[in-house]
């Protein structure tokens, strides 16, 4: 439940259409990952390393609720997503597919693109190693933390439905 890596910083109100364009959604996940956020920062998909942290602004992942958007981010190797706040569907989808996400008001003022961050999902601690400062994200609902630990909704579905 921890991630450490380079911060890739994006802006406000980014729709899922910009995370993965509609004409890319039939690609394999491996190929889709090569196009994540391509219109906003073509360097991102080319250079992102496992564990890197994607930081974005307000209402991240608005528009279409397709779960391939967080899945493609996950496939790039991103270790955690930290946003000012997420669209409801994007937030739900992250836990359902097992991608760590935190909401932290002020995060876009706290980091610069290229900073080294470490993120701990269990207590919401976000440490900026470059500036040596620490902030805490909003706590995550225990139900969603259980889902994340299970690896998403599918492994816990039968239990959730009371049929385990």
């Amino acid at each position: 439940m921890k991630a450490r890596g380079r911060c890739w910083k994006f802006g406000d109100n980014i729709p899922t259409d910009q995370i993965v364009r509609a004409d890319r959604v039939l690609l394999s996940m491996q190929d889709m990952a090569k196009h994540v956020l391509e219109n906003l920062n073509p360097d991102f998909a080319r250079s992102v390393k496992p564990g890197d942290i994607l930081v974005a602004g307000k209402h991240f992942g608005q528009s279409s609720g397709r779960a391939v958007a967080p899945k493609a981010i996950q496939a790039t190797g991103v270790g955690a997503v930290v946003v000012e706040y997420a669209s409801r569907l994007f937030y739900r989808n992250c836990f359902e597919i097992g991608l760590p996400i935190l909401e932290c008001a002020g995060i876009t003022n706290f980091v610069h693109d290229g900073d080294i961050l470490s993120v701990d999902m269990t207590d919401g601690r976000i440490h900026n190693e470059t500036t040596q400062q620490t902030v805490y994200a909003n706590p995550v609902d225990p139900f969603l933390m259980d889902m994340l630990r299970a690896g998403g909704i599918i492994p816990m579905a039968a239990k959730l439905a009371g049929e385990d």
């Binding site: 109100n13 729709p15 259409d17 910009q18 364009r21 509609a22 959604v25 039939l26 219109n39 307000k58 209402h59 608005q62 528009s63 279409s64 609720g65 397709r66 779960a67 391939v68 706040y85 669209s87 409801r88 569907l89 739900r92 989808n93 359902e96 597919i97 609902d141 139900f143 998403g152 909704i153 599918i154 579905a157 039968a158 959730l160 439905a161 009371g162 049929e163």
Partner: protein, 418 residues
């Protein structure tokens, strides 16, 4: 409790729920379209591998493809058809109409029920007194298809009361667009939005439809309108299936009340890059457009087609403008035929397209080059949804779309209505 809380309580076997509670509830209807349905079907067959528990509750509508534009897409639709046959779910093939309109017209959406879908505009069904929310593919494949259930966090409710009478040339879609700007993108994240007040109460059902439609774009989980006699008559005209009408308690709580008088509103336009970029039509008047369209989740209703015909009757659209009309359902097309609107708009220079979701995401129509612009009744205007990320999309009422098609640029419809 309000109707959303009552529906969630009933469907999860509780007597009461409160905002913040997480419940697992029985789902009455799952609506999928040809794209989200394809993705969901892959997850269900490859990762879940269980039987479909209630195939009669699952509906797939091919609405992004009225006809496949490539072999790859033809293959995808064939896989969807095979999935539908294999699991016994309902399938409405190319040419049926927009997912949400088909869901309503074919009687799958009924008051007091829980409707879910991967399409993010699924909350529109709250117009019929349902609890309706968009969920992700993994919820559908993981819990709805194999168990008939889904998890929900009970949302807090914002009550929006609208009153007043609109002036000539200003229509409910203008009020809905304006309201998007008032609430703001992300202004209601995770909330339920209750649309109420005399203005909403007086609207006919397909105009009420336009209000819960904006829920997702202001960040909400669901939107709803209290069902009344109008709702019951409307649904009874579409289905013989029984349903329980659930209404909010008089003392139901909400976290916020917003009241607006819409009497002074002018026609509204929302310009790319987002819906929040909305203002009176005068702010954008004069911006050139090469394309016009009635279509998508909100457009292509009979009401839109009537408005366009009112402006275009006996006139011709501007040279260089292509005006595409996409009926929301086969029923809408039949009604437009009966009213003579098909001929009127054809003679004005418009082109009729098959019932579908039109150029929503430009899957089989409506892509633009970087130099082009469209004015439409669509629900969204994000860059890259219609071809080039530099192409522009202006959203407005069917009046505004038709007036702009006549002028070849964004135009105030009131100049054409006498």
């Amino acid at each position: 409790m309000n109707l959303v809380e009552k529906i969630l309580a009933k469907a999860s076997g509780r007597t009461t729920v409160r905002p913040g509670d997480v419940v697992v509830a029985n789902v009455d209807c799952l609506l999928l379209h040809d794209l989200s349905g394809y993705i969901t079907s892959r997850v269900f067959d490859n990762e879940v591998r269980r039987p479909m528990r209630y195939p009669e509750r699952v509906v797939m509508v091919f609405d992004h493809h009225f006809s496949p534009p490539s072999e790859e897409r033809a293959r995808m639709l064939e896989e969807n058809r095979a999935f539908a046959r294999r699991h016994g779910i309902h399938l409405f093939d190319c040419g049926s109409g927009n997912i949400h309109h088909v869901g309503v017209r074919r009687g799958f959406v009924r008051p007091g029920t829980i409707v879910v879908g991967s399409d993010s505009h699924t909350p529109v069904h709250g117009a019929l007194g349902c609890f309706a929310a968009g969920l992700g593919n993994n919820s559908h494949a993981g819990t709805v298809m194999p168990f008939g259930k889904a998890w929900f966090r009970v949302p807090e409710t914002i009550r929006i009361e609208l009153s007043g009478t609109q002036k000539k040339g200003v229509v409910p879609r203008d009020a809905a667009l304006w309201l998007t700007g008032q609430i703001g993108e992300g202004g209601a994240v995770y909330k339920a939005l209750q649309f109420a007040g005399p203005f909403i109460k007086d609207l006919e059902m397909w105009d009420r439809w336009l209000f819960p439609l904006i829920t997702i774009d202001v960040g909400g989980k669901c939107g709803f309108i209290e069902p009344d006699e109008k709702t019951i008559d409307f649904v009874r005209s579409l289905t013989t299936e029984p349903f329980d009408v659930i209404t909010s308690d008089e003392d139901a709580e909400y976290v916020e009340l917003r009241a607006y008088d819409i009497s002074d509103l002018e026609p509204q336009v929302a310009a790319s890059p987002t819906l929040g970029n909305v203002g009176p039509v005068g702010k954008f008047a004069g911006a050139p457009v090469q394309w016009a369209e009635l279509g998508g989740h909100g457009g292509g209703r009979l009401q839109d087609i009537r408005q366009a015909a009112e402006i275009l009757r006996g006139r011709k659209i501007a040279p260089g403008v292509k005006f595409n009309i996409v009926p929301s359902s086969r029923e809408v097309f039949a009604e437009a035929c009966q009213e003579g609107l098909v001929q009127t708009l054809h003679e004005a220079g418009c082109t009729w397209f098959p019932p579908s979701t039109g150029s929503n995401q430009a899957i089989n129509m409506g892509a633009m080059a970087n130099t082009e612009a469209m004015v439409s009744t669509h629900a969204r205007n994000f860059p890259g949804r219609n071809g080039s990320p530099e192409a522009k999309m202006y959203l407005g009422s069917a009046y505004t779309v038709a007036a702009s098609a006549l002028a070849g640029k964004i135009a105030d419809p009131r100049a054409y209505l006498v």
